[in-house]
């Protein structure tokens, strides 16, 4: 167990296999994660219809007006500088109602940010984090694991859409086809009352055992999202990194209207980026890890690793890193400083891993 954002979380389940086994289970069968530490912020209208949407549009960079009820989008809350408060999944849960799912480590900050910056809009902000537990079932067999436990026809729930149904007999559970692993999968939002989360956790483990489902901890969560090139706050995105540097422009809709950070992003776009996120694969024998320095041939530092680790499925040592644009072309060789040695790495296309299309 380890501390994470104020929560006591398992890094792995050694008795059942450990990080590598968990990682491989998600890529080949299914894995079950307790992600109840995530924050859940609900925006509702206050009287006037449309207040919640207006508020969401102002505080986030993607275009929430494109969402149908039951649809979700990856987005981010930005500072006026165009840098990241947090990344977020915006779910349209009602006519004018939006659920923002945010990171555990930034939950308090995000809540304060949302409350402060939506104060000018006719909307109500509710923190549902303590009343919602969240479980993620991820992997090619995720639907097979979950289907016997729910009355929802999971085949009807498309990627980045969600619905409500009963799970293990508990009604009105939100089931979303989202995740943080690069695989198909579901995230279910269970009221944290009575012992429903534990009951459902145990029933899922039971149902999935025969299909190869393993419970998974933070260690596998990190290696999976890294292979899939999904950002982790504090690493690829932070308060000092902007949207263009992080290469998340496809989630930023500059044409949707004004939002916090838009003006700065416009200026930054004109000025050009000084660094950009790139994917690396180690060529020399060794593992690049978070915060390791990256140098050019002459030994001068040109960048740093944001996240680095062995990739259990790809069987390579991979990393995400910030590099100057002129050093970020595919095929570029750079040198990672690993405990005093300079090891060669190569810029490769991202994502490192893309799940096979069924």
């Amino acid at each position: 167990m380890t501390g994470f954002g104020g929560w006591d979380m398992p890094v792995e389940y050694p008795a059942l296999g450990g990080i590598i086994a968990e990682h491989m289970a998600v890529r080949t069968a299914a894995g079950l994660f307790d992600v109840s530490h995530m924050g859940n912020i609900l925006l509702q209208p206050a009287g006037q219809h449309g207040g919640a949407l207006a508020a969401v549009q102002y505080i986030s960079m993607n275009d929430a007006s494109q969402l149908a009820i039951g649809q979700a989008q990856y987005s981010a809350l930005l500072y006026p500088e165009g840098t990241f408060v947090d990344d977020v999944l915006v779910h349209r849960t009602g006519e004018d109602e939006y659920l923002l799912v945010v990171n555990a480590g930034t939950h308090e900050k995000d809540l304060r940010w949302v409350r402060t910056n939506t104060a000018g809009f006719p909307c109500i902000v509710r923190d549902l984090s303590n009343s919602l537990a969240q479980l993620a079932i991820q992997g090619p067999r995720a639907a097979e694991v979950l289907q016997p436990l729910t009355d929802v026809d999971l085949g009807e729930v498309k990627s980045y859409w969600f619905t409500w149904g009963s799970v293990c007999g508990l009604p009105r559970v939100m089931i979303a086809r989202t995740g943080y692993t690069g695989e198909d999968g579901f995230e279910i939002y269970v009221p944290s009352e009575a012992s429903w989360p534990q009951t459902i956790w145990n029933r899922i483990l039971e149902s999935g055992k025969i299909l190869g489902l393993l419970p998974c901890g933070l260690g596998a969560r990190n290696t999976l999202r890294l292979e899939a090139c999904m950002a982790l706050y504090g690493h690829e995105i932070s308060e000092s990194i902007n949207v263009w540097e992080a290469r998340l422009e496809r989630f930023c809709r500059m044409d949707k209207g004004d939002f916090i950070g838009r003006a700065a992003l416009e200026r930054a776009r004109t000025a050009g980026v000084r660094r950009v996120l790139a994917g690396l694969e180690m060529l020399d024998r060794g593992i690049a890890r978070d915060d390791y320095k990256i140098c050019d041939q002459a030994g001068a530092q040109i960048g740093y690793v944001t996240s680095g680790s062995p990739a259990p499925f790809l069987k390579k040592n991979i990393a995400l890193a910030y590099l100057p644009p002129e050093h970020s072309a595919i095929g570029q060789i750079v040198f990672v400083e690993v405990r005093g040695q300079r090891l060669r790495a190569q810029v490769v296309p991202t994502p490192f891993y893309k799940r096979p299309r069924q």
Partner: protein
């Protein structure tokens, strides 16, 4: 776990087996369990001189790097090279087949400072279980 009685142990979870003036070094079962799946090992070359208490190599799991400290001083006379391509052996047989290096000791008396199996067992029993899920 009952730690082999013929080995001596350090506070950093290395073990030593003595045979005349040649000592074999490895990392203990406690260390491999704490690390998890070992994916990489870095060892010195034959002929390298190592000094007691200094880093002579490293062992890496998916999530962490762990440096290995020399239990005693000497010159490396043999390296367990097959570990390079099969680092998981350290998880499987940490006290036996997955020895790391053999050293000709320069100050054999340094071994007297190390714990015996009973003392080491008591020492690790006091440690909080890191991965007990």
């Amino acid at each position: 776990m009952a730690y082999p009685a013929n080995l001596r142990y350090t506070k950093d979870h290395e073990w030593v087996r003595i045979s005349g003036d040649i000592a074999t070094f490895g990392i203990s079962d406690y260390a491999q369990r704490e690390l998890g799946d070992i994916v990489f090992v870095e060892l010195p070359k034959v002929g390298a001189k190592i000094a007691v208490g200094q880093v002579f190599g490293s062992v890496e799991s998916v999530k962490a790097v762990s440096e290995i400290y020399a239990p005693a001083s000497g010159e490396v006379v043999e390296v367990n090279s097959p570990l390079r391509d099969a680092p998981e052996k350290i998880n499987q047989d940490p006290h036996g087949a997955a020895w790391l290096i053999k050293v000709r000791l320069s100050s054999p008396a340094e071994i007297n400072a190390l714990m015996d199996a009973a003392a080491y067992e008591a020492y690790v029993a006091e440690k909080p279980e890191e991965a007990s899920a």
